[in-house]
Structure formats: C-alpha cells, structure tokens
Symmetry: C2
C-alpha cells in the first residue's frame, strides 16, 4: 500500500498540543515572581497531570507539588517526587490510601477543615501508629471549603489533631473567587485578603501554643497579583503553566502566552451560514464555557492557524461530541470554505486548560524546532 503524503498522515487530530517555549516562559515568569516575593512555590499538578511538565516546574525551582487526587499523588511519587500536598479535604474512606503512600516513603500532607475529619485522621493514625502530617484548610473568601480564620473551630480542629498525635504542618487557603475578577486592583485586593486570612489563622494557632510552620496560599490570579506576601511561606498555583482564555479575560496573561491548544482538522462546511465544521467538539475542548460570563466570550475556543497565530474574530461557536462549529463574529463568512478548505489544520485555544487537557490521554509536546514528543497524563481516580 502506497503511503499517504506525510503532511496528511501526520495530522492526527484532535490532539492536545503543548507549545514548550510558551510553557517554559510561563514557568520562569511565575518562579521568578515567587523568588522575588521570597516564598517557596508548590505548583498544582492537577492542570497538567503530566510528569515532564511537573519536572520542568521543579527544575525551575518549585519545591514540592500539590495534587487534587490520591491517584495523582501515587503517580508523581512513583516518578520520584515525594513532597506532595493532597489539597482536597480528607475523608475516612481515603485514609488507607494516604497511609499506604506514607508507608512507602511519600511525604504526603493531607487536608482537614472539620472536627469530624480531624477525629477520623487521628483515629486512623493511632490505630496504625502513623503521625499524619495535616494542614488545616482556611476559608479566605467564602468560595468553597475551609474554616474561617477567626472561627473558634480553627483551634478546636487543631487541638484534636495535635493532641491526637497528628503533625500540624500548617495552614493553607485558596482564594478561588479570584476567578471572578478582572481588574488589577481587585486582584491585588483579593491576594491581600487571601494572605491576611491565612496569616491570621497561623498567628492564632501559634498564639495558642500550636505549631504552624507552613502558611500556604494561592491561585494563579492571586499569585500573579500579590504585591507582598509577609508571613506566607509558600504559594500554590496550577493553570499558569499553560494559561487559557479564562486567565486572559481575568487579565493575568495574553492570548500569545497560552501554551495549550487543540490541533483540529476542518471536516466540512455550511457556507451559507459561514460555518466550518472541525473535528474538535466538546470531547476535545471539554464542555467548559468559562468565558461565557466574562468580558469576552470565546465560545468553545479561539481559533488560530496551525502555527498558533490567533485568527481574530474566529471562534468555536458551538460543539457536539466530535464536531465543532467554527464561525466569524458578526457577519457570516461566506468564503469560509475557500478560507479553510477541507483538511485544513488549525489550533483552538481553550477556555480552561485543566478541563481541556483532561479530555486527552496524552499531550503532543512541541519544541520550537517542530519536533514533538508524546507526554502521558494521569486519568481517573
């Protein structure tokens, strides 16, 4: 059988492409900022779920990582990374898995924000002779989980842990509300609110004679907006490694900083409507419509040419499972079939890099010289 032309055979789409130059730039920018602010940096691996990406973050100066599932912890520990924060509240049913990791030598830190959880942790620790390292989650913005820094529950939980034989490792918070903001002033104020709440929690613990070595804060928007981090020992951030259109709308990156895109092929047209149909539907882009309520709605993603240059005004305006609908804003582009003929390869910048990456078993990591490598991701729980 004759080979098909290399250019066609190579275009396996959809694919999740990492632009390694952009990624490296994003990693350096964040690490330099953290160095300047005098804090350690613990990137959140949930964005990439990918060993070479995390290794690049560590090579740049990161100390330890954050994970969102115990499967990620197992995956990165097997790759030689031992200092891991599991940043989701611990429940009794997951203690056996956490214990197994610690027994294998993983320096796993777990999270707690209630007396019930603290009691389960110390009971398991006592039963198995294990001093779990526990960080207390602080609610700095009413966004989701955690104990408010001024609540009596903070000291209660800390005492249950401390007196029960757990190791109080510190306090941590995540100002997730920073995702709702889009001005430098509001972002700086949220970064200060996040810092102040976490530092206050640490002060209350220390004033009560309890240990609190670590004060950990962070989200990508606040990490890039804080003007000072007095009292903070480390910062966590995830999506900055790739960035995305949500972060562009928040104002902490430009479109040309976005390192993750979905490579796609034009598979058809509806010229009267000005549509090109592409093979990146929601299965590739994810259903994330994070820019829908922001200052600029990019639909299911911003269209770029195959080299990654933004094609202004062209977005994915709709998505089915394996079909994306590409159109121009404003008047329909009736020349769309000539502009993007059948088989044209394009790239789509995603709303939310964490969600889009998760749709793929692996990335295609692209170097500036055009060579690529397959980089696997962790999938599932």
């Amino acid at each position: 059988m004759d080979p098909l032309p290399a250019s066609l055979a190579q275009a396996e789409t959809p694919a999740a492409v990492i632009d390694l130059d952009r990624m490296q730039h994003n990693i350096s920018r964040m690490q330099q900022r953290m160095d300047a602010l005098g804090v350690a940096f613990r990137p959140h691996a949930k964005t990439s779920k990918c060993i070479p990406v995390v290794q690049a973050q560590i090579a740049a100066g990161a100390r330890g990582i954050t994970v969102s599932t115990l499967k990620e912890a197992e995956h990165f520990f097997a790759a030689g990374i031992a200092d891991i924060l599991y940043a989701v509240g611990m429940v009794p049913g997951k203690l056996a898995q956490a214990l197994a990791l610690r027994r294998q030598g993983c320096d796993l830190k777990i999270l707690c924000d209630s007396v019930a959880s603290a009691e389960a942790i110390v009971a398991c620790g006592a039963a198995h002779g294990e001093a779990f390292e526990v960080w207390i989650e602080i609610d700095s913005d009413g966004h989701r989980s955690g104990i408010r820094a001024d609540e009596p529950a903070l000291l209660q939980v800390a005492r249950v842990l401390h007196e029960g034989g757990a190791r109080l490792g510190g306090v941590m918070t995540h100002a997730g509300s920073s995702y709702d903001l889009d001005t430098p002033a509001a972002l700086a104020a949220m970064a200060e609110q996040e810092r102040a709440a976490c530092v206050l929690a640490a002060q209350r613990l220390r004033a009560a004679g309890l240990p609190c070595p670590v004060v950990s804060v962070g989200s990508t928007p606040t990490a890039l907006s804080a003007s000072q981090l007095d009292g903070v020992t480390e910062v966590r951030a995830g999506v900055y490694v790739f960035f995305d259109l949500v972060m562009r709308n928040i104002g902490v990156c430009r479109e040309q900083d976005i390192a993750l895109s979905v490579l796609t092929t034009v598979i058809g047209h509806q010229p009267e409507k000005g549509w090109a149909i592409v093979d990146a539907g929601w299965m590739a882009m994810s259903r994330d419509r994070g820019t829908q309520k922001q200052k600029q709605d990019f639909g299911y993603g911003q269209v770029c040419d195959a080299a990654g240059q933004v094609l202004e005004g062209y977005t994915l305006v709709g998505a089915n499972q394996e079909h994306g609908i590409l159109a121009r804003s404003g008047e329909p582009d009736r020349d769309i079939a000539a502009r993007f003929p059948l088989g044209t390869v394009l790239r789509i910048l995603p709303n939310h890099a964490c969600a889009t990456g998760a749709q793929f078993p692996a990335y295609r990591a692209c170097r500036a010289d055009g060579t690529t490598e397959r980089w696997e991701r962790v999938h599932g729980w």
Copy 2:
C-alpha cells in the same frame, strides 16, 4: 497493618456507576420499539464507549454499531464487531486509518457531505484499489453537517462517489435539534421531519439511477417519538442506553430510568450556607450544564442516596475540579452536616451521560444483587 472497615475501604469515589437493571430496561425498550416500527437498529457506541454495553445492545437485537471516532471503530472491531458506521465526515488525513480497518476485514462505512470529501475518498480508493462504502450525510434540521435533501449538491456528490468507484451505501441524517424540544408533539414533528428529509434524499438518488440501499435516521428523542418510519431502513441512537437529566427534561425518560450516576463521598460542610462538599467536581461530572436552559435546571446533577433514590430538591449547585457543592433548592439546609455526615456516600445523576462517562477510565457496573464489575472505556483518539 489492620484493615479499615470494608464499608469505608470499598467506597472508592468518585466512580461512574452503571445500574445494569436500568440499562437493560432502556435497551429492551428501544429495541422493542424499533422492532415494532420495522426498522433495524444501529446504536451509537459514543455514549458508553464500552464493549460489554455494546454487546448487551447487540444481544438485544441491534445490527451493527455507530461510532464517533476511528479509535472507537478499531476498539470495537478488535472485539469482534465488524459492521461499523463512522458517523463523522471523512477527511483526507483519516483515510489511511479507515483503509487499514477495511483491509483487516472491518465492514466500515464512512460519511461524506461535500464534493471535496468525495473526491478525496475516490482518489484514495483508486490509489489503493479499495471500494470504500460511503454514506451521504443529509442535513434534516440545519443543526450541523450534511447536504439538504433538495440541494443539487446531493446528486453531484453521489455521482463523484459512484463514478469514482466508491460504493454508495445510503443516506443518513441526525436531527440534533430534537435536543431543543420538550413536548411530545414537537418531538413527533421533528421525527417526521428527519424521516421525510432522509427518505426524499434516497428517492432523489434512486430516481437518478444511483444506488441507495440504506436510509438511516436517528437521535434518542426522535427515535422514541416517531410514529411511523416508512422508507427508513435503520435508526441510530446513543444516549438512550443510560439516559440523563437532559433526556428527562426533553421528556423521553424519567429520573428513575437513568442508569448512569456518579458515586461520591461527602468531604466537608459549610453549614451556614447549607452546603455539603462532595468529591465529585467537574472532573467527575464533566462541565456539561445541559439542563441550564431547559425547563428544570439540575445544576451539575441531581443528588440521590447511595441506593440511587432521588433526594428531591438536592442538586450540585457548583463544581470545581475535585469539589462539588451540594445544596437544597430554596432555603439553605442548615442541618446538612447532620443529614449528610462526613463520609456519606451519595449518587449524582448527570446532565449528560456521554460527557460524564467520558471523565472516567472505566465504569463500575452494578448488578441487582450488589455485585460489581469494572468495565473499561475507550479514551482519546
């Protein structure tokens, strides 16, 4: 090390659970309907992407399957299923993969809706001595892809294929707009519109002396709403196998028919807000908010107890990557920590079964006797 209690150790969450009784009921209902309407049934494997699910559909009487990616085609062909429709428009870059499948004995049918695509198919066929079986995609509702049944392009495309040595297998359409409807009358009208358009296209081909053995229509809502299918030879549908909250709102199933749910654990509370935090965030549920614009918005999903009984009024009102926010509609449930204590296991019915299933590497298939089995899914492209 002492074992943890079995009930806790077993609760590995989040997990995608299939209720096999419900699934079998959904499969029988659809197959009986198709038998009564006198048409063959070709289920869409894109919903489950899972061999045992598809085998159950075939055991009930399905003839052949539909897939949304060539990777699915390879996966199901390797499991012994040869009659496969790849229901996404063919592009030059994917012909080598399609050709390889046919050379291995797969009875793969491919799709075409433009002269450009037809020309690429016949050129590849001629170069490799392969008579591809091609179905022409018909646009019956302006939803996405396809040629309208009355367009001159229909005969043009058919002639390029037929004269170029491809095998004209038939016409197919998918009335995706049926997802926007929610009354029996509107659904029946859309089913008739879908049928009439596809039959008209077949009649035009036959009148022009071109072969058109297959007339294939379908979507879950229209398949369950058609009153007659004269001239149609087969129907396709996907999500009916599990159903979901979107289908419930459209009116083609009840909540108690939904066979897919996400098993989740309560990991914390914010009692003042009436929130329980669970370990099913959008990574588990997907970002699909399909019920957002329907008659009842279920947020990120309807909460059920561990046995699958609906807990009226409780939904996931928010989702982060690994955190779901569970709340009651109306007044905050300030007793939520007592109602759903830390560690409580619940099930969440999804907005969209295709999207939620795709977040998991495998299902936990649950029999009525409580035994479960791990059923793998295809992931990626």
